[in-house]
């Protein structure tokens, strides 16, 4: 199942946030969205997930979601969004209950996703007992439990410290290699984008519009030690963004 964005524009009250976004998310690929703070990345992701509606344009699902897919478009949030009053197990079963998956069937799915995210021992821990990295792995496990056609990830690693971030990036790559998934991955960390993205969409400052789309063909598994080509792409992206960042740092926020 592919996703296509057609002519998406959006304003909140008087603030124009996005302007004329057209893009495709091909099946089995990770598309990274990068851009300066406040340019509308999260907003765009909410449109794709159907949590909000753009004032103009539309988001299309092309093709049907694969068999057994409970929630085709599934989010992984930056702040994990775990229910603090439910255990790891409970947080995952939450999203199965509404699909009438309970008992043994639910157990099997939960055990499977916990194993894939290396959390099997922590099924009964409460969120407050988990470190940030573990919390995000629970959020990823929960997303995997509904067998998504597309994962929508909004800066999933930016709340973590850099070591944990590196570990989770490796984990995501392993997961993808074992079974390629489709994802839209929002980040403002260019290294992350270059490490994970098959396609990197660079947005301009607000109102966000597409400034450039960078394709990276090198397989994910081979990007470990930054090669010259990757380094060049990184530098290119950085040049694209530096001016925007500088300008943003000289502006008062809406009073």
């Amino acid at each position: 199942m592919d996703i296509r964005l057609e002519g998406i524009s959006h304003s909140y009250d008087d603030t124009e946030v996005l302007r004329g976004i057209d893009m495709d998310v091909p099946s089995g690929r990770i598309v990274c969205l990068v851009g300066p703070s406040g340019c509308g990345k999260s907003t765009l992701l909410r449109f794709i997930g159907g949590l909000e509606r753009p004032t103009q344009g539309r988001v299309l699902q092309l093709g049907t979601p694969p068999e057994g897919c409970l929630n085709p478009l599934t989010f992984v949030f930056q702040d994990f969004a775990l229910l603090p009053w439910r255990s790891v197990h409970g947080n995952i079963s939450l999203v199965l209950e509404d699909h009438r998956i309970r008992g043994a069937a639910a157990k099997r799915i939960i055990a499977d996703v916990l194993a894939r995210t290396k959390l099997s021992e922590f099924a009964w821990a409460l969120p407050r007992q988990l470190s940030g990295g573990m919390k995000q792995r629970v959020a990823i496990a929960r997303a995997l439990a509904v067998n998504p056609a597309v994962m929508l990830m909004d800066e999933p690693l930016s709340a973590l410290d850099s070591q944990t971030r590196a570990l989770l990036m490796d984990d995501l790559i392993t997961l993808w290699e074992r079974q390629p998934f489709t994802a839209v991955y929002v980040t403002h960390n260019l290294t992350e984008a270059v490490r994970l993205g098959h396609r990197i969409v660079v947005l301009s400052r607000r109102p966000g519009s597409i400034r450039e789309i960078v394709e990276i063909d090198e397989p994910l598994s081979e990007r470990g030690s930054a090669g010259a080509e990757l380094e060049r792409k990184l530098q290119h992206l950085w040049d694209l963004m530096r001016d925007d960042a500088r300008a943003a740092d000289k502006e008062l926020l809406g009073v």
Binding site: R4, R46, G50, L51, L60, L62, G63
Partner: protein, 271 residues
Amino acid sequence: MSDSTLPYGSAQLEVRFRGGGFSPIPHRWMGALVFVVLIIFIEWGTRAGFISALTLPRPSDVLATFGELWDSGLLFRHLGPSLSRLVVGAALGASLGIGVGILIGLFSYIRAGLGPLVAAIFPIPKIALLPLFVIWFGIGEGSKYALIAFGTFTPTVVATYGAVDNVDRSLIRMGQSFGLSWLSIVRKIVLPGAMPGILSGLRISLAIAIILLVAAEMLGAQYGIGAYILEAGSLYDLERLFAGVVILSLLGVLTSGAIAMIERRMLDWRV
């Protein structure tokens, strides 16, 4: 639509919207509508007779009573003393409450000593103590001030020390790290930081102060909205009773509006 959509044939559909909701959209007229409908219903019911005269007064009669109060100038003779009792009593209770609340918030020993005392005083019904207030504070304005002050004191203390507890500790550490004196930290960091909590506590305290107006005016008050309501109640004069209650209700809405205004002006730094 571009050509590239063709290969997907009919399996192309827009993403289903599933967000929205869970965030209130204001409908200003609804509130007014509910009041109007309620009043019209009661008016109709009392006229048609399925609401007996014993159960509720006719809204139009209440309005007429209100008109009489206004015309005769009695409204202000009642409102004047009540307002001054409210202002003096609430100001006393609230300022003492804020003071004690801050002390409890700042000093462990005071907290340990006075905290349980305040918790024990909170559930004491003020009307039970009326006979004592007569002895302690007399039957003049003193006892009325004291009763209202006493009633506003406890909730203000609780709200204030909660607010002090909630002041961001990292700001206090910052102050200490720059070698600010204890007094500077309290004045410049703790107090402004506790202000939002104190103000929202005042909303409740002032509502309680209005409620206690009636209890306070049980003690030898000849004029005052509370005295007016009590007299109406003892004469079973429902029109006047409701006229008085409506005045208190308006008073409550006004104070809460005033606090909202103060909040907007003093707390414009909030995100």
